[in-house]
């Protein structure tokens, strides 16, 4: 470990590793601090990712791919389901225990150092700018200076707050989740299934994602507004009993998804936030691996370039680049989410019914959301732009 680094990344999830990799590749000295003993564990994630989103950052490898996704399924509150065939492999199911570690390895190979069991608990500030971090490591309080801190500390991010960024999430926008990985589950090994309904997962959805060999990630998220009355765990227990009574539970985990559009301000002097910490999650699906990696790749590159050019204000381009690549799309997905959250069970039933009436070839994910928002004509044109090919 050096006395000083160009860039310190807090958190070694997918966003942290990608930020570190891009920063190191662009010539910066990078240190990653991770509070947990190991990178990649525990896995608080459904582990689904789009093909495009994955392949932009790492070549798919059989060692950490559990299933190839060619279909989407939606299940209505009345039990009717519609399956949308995507025609080819459009997504993957990851084994994040290995995947996160492999991503961290790419950062390390690019030159970044990684320190686990390092719990960051404060920032060093100098002349109104973030200038390093303070952290606890093996029972000792330490500090290291740097030019730029990249906060990749996930949904529980506090690094941004310490720098004065407004990052706290309204409790209604926090999807409170619980998931089990279980065996002896009868499900298509090439399809992601989403269940909707007030009984199943109000203001959220219940998912069944294949993990190979008859195993699956089965979980759900409900909004904080729902969680106020009943916990995610109790909804999940109910669903397991109703849909998968013979499932053998292998692991279980709680988690949170910030289902909002990204922060208005993701950077301040000497600091940038990436991934869940910047709320870069797809607000409709809750998928945050690929969009977090996109945000992190922009931030890592800009941070290193700003150091190289000796112009720390250069990081202010972050927001603009994010807006261009993801921001507009997320604004729009957030609107669809608001629409879906307000659906009654009857509306969900009708939606699936209308999909079932279409010939199989015409059943696309875009059309699903298009029908979903039939009542909101103002959004139709935008939907067409994003989904309909």
């Amino acid at each position: 470990m050096k006395e000083e680094y160009d860039i310190i990344v807090v958190g070694a999830g997918p966003a942290g590793s990608i930020a570190a990799r891009y920063a190191a590749q662009n010539g910066a000295f990078v240190l990653v601090l991770e509070k947990d003993r190991d990178v990649g564990y525990p896995v608080r994630c459904g582990e689904a990712i789009s093909r495009e989103g994955l392949e932009a950052f790492i070549k798919p490898d059989k060692r950490w791919i559990n299933a190839e996704i060619t279909k989407f399924g939606f299940v209505a509150p009345n039990g009717k389901k519609v399956v949308i065939n995507l025609g080819k492999v459009e997504g993957y199911m990851l084994e994040r225990r290995i995947f996160d570690y492999e991503l961290a390895k790419t950062a390390s190979v690019a030159g970044a150092e990684i320190l686990t069991r390092a719990y960051v608990n404060d920032l060093i500030k100098e002349n109104g700018k973030v200038a390093g971090v303070k952290f606890e490591f093996r029972g000792e309080q330490k500090q290291i200076k740097c030019k730029i801190v990249i906060g990749a500390d996930g949904v529980e991010s506090r690094v941004g707050r310490w720098a004065g960024l407004e990052t706290h999430i309204d409790f209604r926008d926090m999807e409170s989740c619980f998931q089990v990985t279980a065996s002896n589950v009868k499900c298509d090994q090439d399809a992601l299934f989403f269940y909707f309904g007030k009984e199943v997962a109000p203001e959220g959805y219940f998912w069944v994602f294949p993990k190979g060999k008859g195993t699956a990630n089965i979980g759900l998220g409900v909004s904080g507004g729902v969680g106020k009355k009943r916990s995610a765990l109790s909804y999940l227990n109910n669903n397991l009993e109703n849909f998968f009574p013979t499932a053998n539970i292998l692991t279980q985990v709680a988690g949170g998804v910030p289902s909002v559009v990204a922060l208005e301000k993701m950077a301040a002097p000497g600091i940038m936030l990436v991934g869940d910490a910047a709320r870069q999650v797809n607000p409709l699906s809750g998928g945050g691996i690929s969009s977090g990696m996109i945000g992190a790749s922009i931030a890592g590159r800009l941070a290193a370039q700003s150091i190289k050019n000796n112009d720390l204000n250069y990081i202010n381009n972050y927001h603009k680049e994010w807006k261009k690549l993801r921001g507009k799309k997320h604004d729009f997905l957030d609107k669809i989410k608001d629409g879906l959250f307000n659906f009654t069970d009857e509306q969900f039933n009708n939606l699936i019914e209308s999909m079932l009436k279409l010939p199989e070839k015409k059943r696309t994910v875009g059309r699903f959301f298009m029908i979903a928002l039939k009542n909101k004509p103002s959004l139709l044109k935008e939907i067409a732009k994003v989904f309909v090919v």
Binding site: V155, E156, G227, K228, R230, S231
Partner: protein, 90 residues
């Protein structure tokens, strides 16, 4: 009760109190660390940055807490409760 507190906060608490002190008076929130999964939902929604969450350790920073209960509402498990008076249970 005091076992949840970070050592450095203990001296600023008045001694002989029935309740731990929150920003707004007595502290009604309690996290039950043995039930916690350390997922971070509560930390993300806490408006006061009043929750400390390490790898497998969690506690409330009492002087910051306002008893707003948002952490309870967002918790996927029933881990945080109003204590003593049992005001709220999910």
């Amino acid at each position: 009760m005091l076992s949840y507190l970070p050592i450095q906060l203990i001296p600023i608490l008045p001694i002989k109190m029935n309740y731990r002190q929150a920003k707004t008076g007595k502290l009604l929130i309690d996290i039950l660390p043995n039930k916690c999964d350390f997922c971070g939902c509560c930390v993300g929604v806490c408006p006061e940055d009043a929750i400390e969450l390490k790898e497998a350790e969690i506690y409330i920073i009492d002087p910051r807490c306002t008893n707003c209960a948002k952490c309870i509402w967002s918790c996927p498990i029933e881990v945080i409760k109003f204590n003593k008076e049992g005001v709220l249970e999910k």
